[in-house]
């Protein structure tokens, strides 16, 4: 049986603009089971106070690249939940 530490991925979830305002925070550390996805990290954030204001399928990124909810996470990944973009 592998050591418990190998069963977990520690990631950071960043929140921006309206999402950061809704939850009152810009960054959350989350520990997820091995093989967890962006969707799993999102599900966790949506359980936080104000998290229900984040839509079920927001724009997401992993390590500075746009990524779908099915994207598998690795130790140390930086996940970003992106409100509707309004640059340009």
């Amino acid at each position: 049986m592998p050591a418990p530490s190998t069963q977990i991925v520690n990631v950071r979830v960043l929140l921006f603009a309206s999402y950061a305002d809704r939850l009152g925070l810009e960054s959350v550390r989350v520990a997820l089971p091995l093989l967890a996805t962006v969707g799993d990290a999102l599900d966790h954030v949506r359980t936080l106070p104000g998290g229900d204001q984040i839509p079920p399928r927001p724009l997401c990124a992993v390590n500075l690249v746009h990524a779908g909810l099915e994207t598998r996470l690795a130790e140390g990944d930086e996940i970003a939940l992106l409100p509707p973009l309004a640059g340009g």
Binding site: S18, L82, P83, G87, G88
Partner: protein
């Protein structure tokens, strides 16, 4: 890097960066802060960004354009507080001929709007403040108190 800037943008500086004696055509686009949005008078606004990703995405967009067409591309997006008439984004594209210059310029502004993680908070003259959602109405409006 350097696609994001907190300082005023000068389109002439971008143009100078991409000029070439072999390139006869330069197409440019500048986005400025308008004095209205959705029928409401805007006083000023703030752009915030996911800085490292916005820089990376801008760089990817420029590289994609330069791979697709025989062009040189300069791109800058302002962040922080802006007043009416301030330049929010500027793009300059040089190419041997105008078809390529226009096509690449259009590609870049569309990609910036669709892909670069930047958000806009509008401060209306009536005192209200809102994050802008181009896919719908303003989000999370805080009414004038």
């Amino acid at each position: 890097m350097g696609h994001l800037t907190a300082a005023p943008i000068d389109p002439a500086v971008l143009t100078a960066r991409i000029e070439s004696p072999a390139h006869g055509a330069i197409a440019s686009f500048v986005g400025q802060v308008r004095n209205h949005h959705g029928g409401r008078a805007v006083g000023r606004l703030e752009y915030s960004a996911y800085g490292p990703m916005a820089e990376a995405e801008c760089q990817r967009i420029v590289r994609e354009a330069e791979a697709e067409w025989p062009v040189r591309v300069a791109l800058e997006h302002r962040v922080g507080g802006l007043e009416i008439g301030d330049i929010a984004v500027a793009i300059a594209v040089s190419a041997p001929h105008r078809d390529e210059a226009f096509a690449a310029c259009r590609f870049v502004i569309e990609a910036v709007k669709r892909r670069v993680p930047i958000w806009k908070k509008e401060h209306y003259l009536d005192g209200a403040v809102a994050w802008v959602d181009p896919t719908g109405s303003p989000l999370d409006e805080v009414p004038a108190s």
